[in-house]
């Protein structure tokens, strides 16, 4: 066995062993298998229903093609700007200076990358229910989609690597330099992920602009620091994820209102659209710069009350939460033809969910910060959100189904209780976590 073959198989073997050594990974793996099993069962059940009609398969092909185009665009965009890499930091530091054949090393990197993309593509299996139940397609289509995903990701990484090389020059030294630079970027992201923090993507060319603070004293110095960092980091008020979540929600609402089988009950339609919009919001709401602050010692060291520091760190997220709520409220109001009261309630309910997600993020960091793995933290985050939503959802169900309120429509009742109960629940959670920075668990500092 050659050195590279040994490395490849040993890493694969040790990777599999990790599932046994770390029970959390095993639990997640088993959950995924159960989910895949469930999706296959539910897909088959749906397809067996009498008078079951399928949607046009062209729609499915468009979705599969869309995912491939998105992966190619995202990989090329990132790769051409910052360089693409098939290697990890230990690969670069150990293999590149070694007397191994450079072609062999390159081949090794490619094989590992294909393996990684293949592992990611396994999530396509979870879509069996949709593919079979809605479009009447089987495993063959899913396997083709997986192959297309792996091929498009791998080839676009390879292509962007060559474009990047030709951009910066083509000598052997340039090649190593570009691989090293790209690997450093991906390495810092991996390290950040292991430490449970978010790696900030910083533009390569930063315009310094005006220097110095516009204000700030004590804890508010963090807020003014964030203003400078957001300006230099080219951060818009709404980040890309928030914009994507808003556009996705509006498009979904538009499609739902024009679908032949859209629910006639406006409450059901509104709740369906709002649920989807909230699902997207879950991925777009983040702690902003607070998540980066939590990974550095200053937020814990500055001699101010923990709660005051937290609030000043969250200040910069307020404008984006307000704009997001206004945009979703107004957009859905127009598309769904809602009255002004309903539109306002919807916007406030949207804002209340931003508060719930932020408070849940903080609660997880307060209770389990630095002690649990990333996967466990994500699961705990979802559990905390569900617990926090119980009062509002329970009230919404009771006052629509059991004791209807005469002067409010069903949709208005749901949005009213979400808004009225989510906000105080979030504030209570914020208050309970007020000492978070006094009881830190910063393992990387």
């Amino acid at each position: 066995m050659t050195a590279l073959q040994y490395l490849l198989f040993t890493r694969l073997k040790n990777g599999l062993r990790e599932f046994i050594r770390k029970p959390v990974r095993l639990v997640v793996l088993l959950l995924c298998i159960v989910l895949i099993g469930f999706t296959i069962w539910s897909g088959n059940m749906a397809a067996q229903e009498e008078d079951h009609t399928y949607r046009s398969v062209t729609e499915l092909y468009l979705i599969i093609g869309g995912v491939c185009v998105f992966m190619i665009a995202a990989t090329m965009w990132s790769g051409v700007r910052k360089g693409a890499t098939f290697f990890t930091m230990p690969d670069v530091l150990l293999l590149f200076p070694s007397p191994l054949n450079p072609r062999g090393v390159m081949f090794y990197g490619m094989i590992r990358s294909i393996g990684m993309y293949l592992a990611i593509s396994l999530f396509y299996l979870m879509q069996y229910s949709t593919v079979h139940g809605i479009y009447g397609q089987g495993f063959g289509t899913i396997i083709v989609a997986m192959i297309l995903f792996v091929a498009s990701t791998f080839l676009s990484t390879l292509l962007s690597f060559f474009i990047y090389r030709s951009r910066i020059g083509g000598t052997r030294e340039d090649y190593y330099e570009s691989v090293l630079a790209a690997t450093e970027v991906s390495h810092s992201a991996v390290v950040a992920q292991k430490e449970g923090r978010t790696a900030e993507i910083i533009p390569q060319n930063i315009k310094l602009g005006k220097t110095g603070f516009a204000g700030g004293s004590g804890a508010s110095a963090f807020y003014y620091k964030h203003l400078i960092e957001n300006r230099r980091g080219h951060k818009l008020i709404l980040n890309v994820w928030s914009l994507a979540a808003i556009i996705g929600s509006l498009v979904f609402a538009f499609v739902m209102t024009r679908m032949g089988d859209a629910p006639e009950d406006t409450t059901a339609l509104l709740v369906g659209v709002f649920t989807f919009a909230t699902y997207l919001q879950l991925f777009s709401v983040a702690l902003g710069r607070l998540s980066f602050e939590l990974a550095k010692p200053y937020i814990y060291l500055v001699p101010e009350g923990s709660f005051t520091k937290l609030l000043h760190c969250l200040r910069e997220t307020i404008p984006s939460a307000l704009i997001d709520a206004a945009a979703v409220g107004a957009g859905l109001g127009i598309i769904l033809g809602l009255d002004p009261l309903m539109t306002v309630l919807l916007a406030v309910a949207r804002l209340s969910f931003a508060m719930v997600f932020t408070a849940a993020n903080i609660a997880v960091a307060r209770i389990w910060g630095g002690e649990a793995s990333k996967v466990v933290v994500m699961l705990l985050y979802l559990v905390v959100i569900i617990v926090m939503l119980i009062p509002a959802l329970a009230a919404a169900i009771v006052f629509t189904a059991v004791i209807p309120i005469s002067f409010l429509s069903g949709g208005q009742t749901v949005m009213f209780f979400l808004a009225v109960l989510n906000i105080p629940v979030s504030l209570i959670v914020f208050y309970l976590c007020r000492k978070m920075l006094d009881f830190a668990e910063l393992n990387n500092g």
Binding site: L208, T211, F213, E229, L442, G445
Partner: protein, 238 residues
Amino acid sequence: MLNISHVTKKYKKLIANDDLSFTVEPGKVSILLGPNGAGKSTIIKCIAGLLRFTGSITIGGLANNLPEAKALLGYVPEMPAVYDLLTVGEHLEFIRRAYKFSDEAYTDRLLQLFEMDDKVNKLGKELSKGMQQKLSILCQLAHKPKLLIFDEPLVGLDPHAIRELKLLFRELKADGTAILISTHMLDSVEDYWDTTHILVNGKFAAQRNNVEGEKESLEELFFDITEGHKNKEAGEAK
């Protein structure tokens, strides 16, 4: 100034610090020594309020998680703590504002001492590792803390900065600042240490005062304790 009393820190089953107690008085330099993994960084992070622990840590008689205690503390971590998108000058302005400390002339002097005065408009991300370490040190000196704790302060510094930092240690000591340093570079602190604590497997294996006239060097002491500890463990295993 610093009082550690029965501090224990556990990571699941691993006891990183086991019932540690010691003090650092004003105007004294205390050294934490020990092999890799002995628990030096852990106790330092506990003091800085970055880790949860059992026991008691007070700074100036106040619990270390109180703002009044934090105002007395400067902590220089092992890895440079630098903001990528702030300039060197803005880092120091941030510290002055956050700590409500208005002596700009003092931070200017620090910049000159560490030859950073020509880098005031350089962004954190543009600095080399050594420069980042200098900036990280400056940020903690900038508000004139009464207790300074350093986790491997000399790693990555150039000879000029090492010399200036050593001189500064003496100056701060003379001003009454209590200093706690964790380091593997024994010769760097040989001239001015007052007490030393040698950690092995999370416990203090020895604590010594630097008594004038006694010629036991830190290096001799360190190897006596740590190698002796290993030999003892090997003997017990047999």
